[in-house]
């Protein structure tokens, strides 16, 4: 199971022109400032998922490029390339396979002032936290997204247009950040998005390590729909415990997820054998408000409990394992997932 955003976008990077353009940008920025060399980052992973007895395999590559230009501008982009192998249906032996190559986002950021950054291009919809903060494979604690991940992310998970974002207030005791966007409707194969608008505001209390936020967006094409979201993150100081949660409500469905993780440093630190283990638990529930299905959520009320045990290897490598039990009126199922992810981060070219 993949983060929901990966399944929407059309093929882009397959065009030689796109590749040449990317290389041209890299070459143009060859002699950047000492600490502002363009970078390549991302994750390489191999995932397996067994759902109701059927096992599928997914090797995938999710690169990210950051290229600063001058003191205020940044071009950033993320893409995904994956191969999916799944058993043939019926009595047939063997596996079917398919490719998927897609640009997740491509945006230019202009830091206008200490409080305002102007974003243009195609960007991740800032609704709650999963879509733009937790969906990269090297960040998420589970292979798959929560049940409600599609709610509020406006079908493609990305918008094409403009966004203002930044830190509105930053004090030692609290900080407030915001995002406000408008997206136009785009139907071409490169950037698909809906006409929409919305935003998010978050309050963070550093002493309590508590973040709360509210999100809203509205679909401005077809059947107009409003989406409301709220999130709460809490990470007690000097403990390995983390709690993340979201609630989202749309016109036709609503739901929530709560995730807890724990890493102990009590047995020789986080880099000890024990400290590298990370148990994870996530509870998901989605509820249909009517039978109109336009939001990507399950057709019926669904509950799912995800139990994970991750191991953080040296050199930015993680092993992710999980068992999920899903309950719904259409049938209960077990989902077993294992995977390994390597996160890389290096300059785009050699230098002094």
């Amino acid at each position: 199971m993949l983060p929901p955003i990966t399944k929407f976008r059309g093929s882009t990077l397959t065009r030689p022109a796109s590749l040449i353009a990317c290389l041209a940008v890299l070459f143009a920025l060859r002699y950047g400032a000492a600490q502002n060399t363009p970078l390549l980052s991302g994750g390489v992973g191999f995932f397996t998922s067994t759902n109701s007895g059927q096992t599928s395999y997914q090797p995938l590559f999710e690169p990210l490029l950051d290229a600063p230009i001058g003191p205020h501008f940044l071009i950033e982009s993320r893409a995904i390339l994956l191969e999916s192998l799944s058993p043939k249906g019926g009595d047939q032996a063997g596996y079917d396979h398919s490719h998927f190559i897609s640009l997740t986002y491509l945006q230019g950021d202009y830091i206008l002032s200490s409080h305002v950054t102007v974003v243009g291009g195609t960007f991740l919809i800032p609704f709650n936290t999963y879509n733009d903060r937790l969906s990269p494979i090297w960040i998420g604690n589970f292979q798959g997204g929560p049940l409600t991940a599609n709610l509020g992310s406006l079908s493609t998970g990305a918008g094409t247009g403009g966004m203002l974002s930044g830190s509105a207030i930053s004090r030692r005791k609290y900080s407030v950040s915001y995002n406000s966007f408008f997206s136009s409707r785009v139907d071409n194969s490169y950037f698909q998005s809906d006409r929409s608008g919305g935003g998010r505001a978050s309050l963070y209390l550093p002493d309590r390590r508590l973040e709360i936020g509210l999100s809203y967006d509205r679909l401005l094409q077809g059947t107009r729909e409003n989406f409301y979201g709220a999130h709460l993150w809490w990470e007690p100081k000097d403990s390995g415990f983390k709690l993340r949660s979201e609630f989202a409500r749309g016109h036709h469905a609503q739901g929530y997820w709560i995730e807890t993780t724990y890493r102990t440093d009590a047995f020789g630190g986080l880099d000890s054998f024990v400290g590298r283990f990370q148990p994870v638990f996530r509870m998901n529930q989605s509820f249909r408000r009517d039978t109109v299905v336009s939001d990507g959520l399950p057709l019926v009320n669904t509950q799912r409990a995800d139990f994970g045990l991750n191991y953080n290897l040296p050199h930015n490598t993680r092993i992710l394992t999980s068992y999920s039990r899903q309950f719904s009126s259409t049938g209960n199922s077990n989902i077993w997932q294992t995977g390994i992810v390597y996160r890389f981060l290096f300059p785009a070219w050699k230098g002094n």
Partner: protein, 98 residues
Amino acid sequence: MNSKYLLPVFVALASAAFLQAVAQSNPPAAQKTNGPAVAQVSQQQDEGTRIFQQNCSRCHNTPQGFSPRISGTILRHMRVRASLSKHDEEVLLRFFNP
């Protein structure tokens, strides 16, 4: 396992994990310094550590080492993605390049 038991089980697990976390929490040890310059560097490192833990570690694990040539690029990226303030960006740049 019936679905009606999931929420109580979750609450019990979360409570147990939280109680254990609180029980094991320890205040960071004060660092000994030998002079004003060392003290200033140590203070900057503490400030950088605090901002790093409060902002970067909220979402992801700490990357194990990266070239100082990309530290500015990383921070510009995170300034946009995590809505870092200008002050936090400057402190973290000193933290990455002491």
